[in-house]
Symmetry: C2
């Protein structure tokens, strides 16, 4: 597996910190939002004497309660159609290993969450990217573009909804189109919906599990990491009504014995999180998004869409190369002894050369910090030596 | 992956319980020993507000302290040579995925922990078993037998020391012989040492990490599951001084983001477990072992060695087929409304037909329960319809 552009930046961030420079982390989806009190209390009040293996599919009580959560969203699953996993990562790995053989192809709209690639490589699966564009706000590419990529080896389509890294929220219409496509070609539709609770502007999340008559095709990947700010809890789930898929996934689950007991206690308790928690979190993210998007688009030469979900946006910057720019920010730049760390978007594209001028920004800091971070970015863009200068309609890099 | 003989028994055990029958579980390595108070207290007193991702290799504080634990055992590793994993299972999976390619062969003395097979299959690796025998107390097979199995595709040898399922503790001499063999043929030596603290009769554990000049060859798999009765905590570690192996393992670690935070808190705190805890646990297991082994060998036609480690023994029973017998125990037998569940040993052999009359017994119950369980087993063997009858020196199954 190649090192990602984000990981290559880590030593530079460490170096900046050694110089006592404040680094604003816009590079990672680690929210600063407090974990719900009900979850923390369940851990603090834990009265087990022996921390035993749990059922390989997870506590039955947790699975039953989680089924209730989905049912309230109009997703009709029962507890036998859920396996609790060690994070969404393991759910994804079980999904690929249970549904795909080495050499099989999956289509993923790019830019996409870089770890899809890692798990595909680990499963010997070939990723065929289909490009979504910033000009289109990263909407689903046209279905005929998907059709062009389908070969006899194609076995599935992977989406992330709302999307990491773009923040794009797929519409019901887009999901229905995908549903028809996978049915027509007898593919799996893998949907990573870990950002489900993060939909803004009154938009409703439409899950692949809302599609009717799709029991054999749809595999859902979920996680508590973002929903309850429990990234370190490492609890997720794989959900499907396809009995064969679940029976195979169960064998992988048995091989690793059980998901973490403490994490399951926290995850189960989190289902009692009051509605107000989500309302507050949502209001906070909308404020952060609105501020960040406006600040970015005000900067000369910067363009970013206004995403309706998750807590990311992809911004196009007037720079020669976003990777170089991000490294320069950490290595050579400071504004009032502060700098920012962002994720070069090239790491989210499978097609070489794409996303060269783009970065992913996670608006996971509070507004005060975001203000300072945006100020730093604006100042940095003014003095970056690899700045792209726009002369008339022609773009010329200062360095070229 | 095929369903294991133990898992096939689960519905019969559930059925027995529905009939309100007491089932003594000798089938699984889930100790009844309390988890150390220091670990439980660390969880109860946990004061984090946001449960964030940790470093993909685990808390640095935990790795440093864990390095100290190994150093005290004469294993000279530093924290950069340790990656904290989600249980020993993940450590094993990282080890195979980092060191082996699909089609590579590994040699494992059988009977062996059945999940080695699952992880080998998941990695596309071929397991070549080498048989250890009950007559020899499951000692290491002769080195020339290993040599016979080595082909150009052989890349490693896997041992479990002390051994699950046999309880056999490899001697320093045996480990040194293996060390020379792997060096001669340039193989990896994977050693699963999760039962390290369970060595009896004054025997000292000799780790593969004690071998001198073996930095490039040795990969250690460890776990808190058995050491601190923390099976559900899901914390383990992969340890190696081979930099290339660790760099590759780190990429797998990054793909799954981080090991469980709560588990790491418990694991780190467990390193402060007082010595008396282990002394008490050890004394308890010695008493259980002594009782169980004596009780088994007193039963007509039953043979089992006296293992020096872990908390398992393999017993040979005078039955036509241990799988049938174990099912019959759950389905058709009761003694004072009690029965026992054991693991048919065939599931621990890769060579078809081996272990047909053997079971693995985990002596993880207290002595009072073990007494009742052994009484049940003795009575059951007297009336089992598939009993093997010994006439002179010839063995004839009653049913044949």
């Amino acid at each position: 597996m190649p090192a990602s552009p984000i990981r290559k930046l880590v030593p530079f961030a460490e170096e900046a910190k050694r110089k006592n420079r404040k680094v604003y982390h816009l590079n990672i989806g680690q929210p600063d939002i407090p974990t719900p009190e009900v979850a923390l209390n369940a851990i603090r009040n834990m009265d087990l004497k022996v921390i035993e293996y749990s059922h390989s599919a997870g506590f039955e009580s947790y699975r039953r309660k989680l089924a209730g959560y989905y049912q309230a969203l109009g997703i009709h699953v029962d507890h036998n159609e859920i396996i609790i996993t060690t994070g969404g990562s393991e759910a994804l790995s079980f999904a690929f290993n249970s549904c795909l053989d080495p050499g099989d192809e999956i289509i993923i709209p790019e830019p996409f969450y870089a770890n899809y690639n890692s798990f595909a490589i680990a499963s010997g699966v070939v990723v065929k990217p289909i490009t979504s564009t910033i000009e289109n706000g990263f909407a689903l590419p046209a279905i005929q573009e998907f059709e062009k990529l389908i070969t006899p080896k194609t076995r599935g389509i992977v989406i992330c909804n709302p999307n990491n890294p773009t923040g794009y929220l797929y519409s019901e219409e887009e999901i229905r189109q995908l549903g028809e496509l996978v049915k027509k070609h007898n593919l799996f539709l893998f949907s990573d919906e870990v950002y489900r609770e993060f939909c803004y502007d009154g938009e409703k999340h439409f899950s692949v599990m809302h599609l009717e008559g799709m029991e054999e095709y749809v595999v859902l990947v979920d996680s508590v990491s973002k929903r309850y700010s429990e990234c370190g809890v490492r609890i997720g789930a794989i959900i499907s009504k396809n009995k064969e898929v679940m029976a195979t996934a169960m064998k992988f689950a048995q091989a690793r014995l059980s998901p973490p007991t403490f994490g399951q206690i926290a995850g189960e308790a989190s289902l009692d999180t009051p509605r107000e928690y989500f309302d507050q979190v949502s209001a906070e993210y909308v404020a952060r998004r609105d501020f960040t998007i406006e600040a970015l688009n005000k900067m000369e030469g910067v363009v970013t869409p206004k995403p309706k979900g998750a807590f990311y946006t992809i911004a196009k910057l007037p720079v020669d190369c976003a990777e170089k720019f991000c490294q320069w920010l950490l290595q050579d730049f400071e504004h009032n002894n502060q700098t920012v760390m962002m994720a070069p978007a090239a790491g989210f594209y499978a097609t070489p050369g794409l996303g060269r001028q783009e970065v992913r920004i996670a608006y996971v800091l509070n507004i005060d910090e975001l203000k300072l971070a945006m100020e730093v970015l604006e100042q940095a863009l003014k003095v970056y030596p690899g700045k792209e200068v726009i002369i008339g309609t022609r773009k010329i890099s200062k360095n070229s």
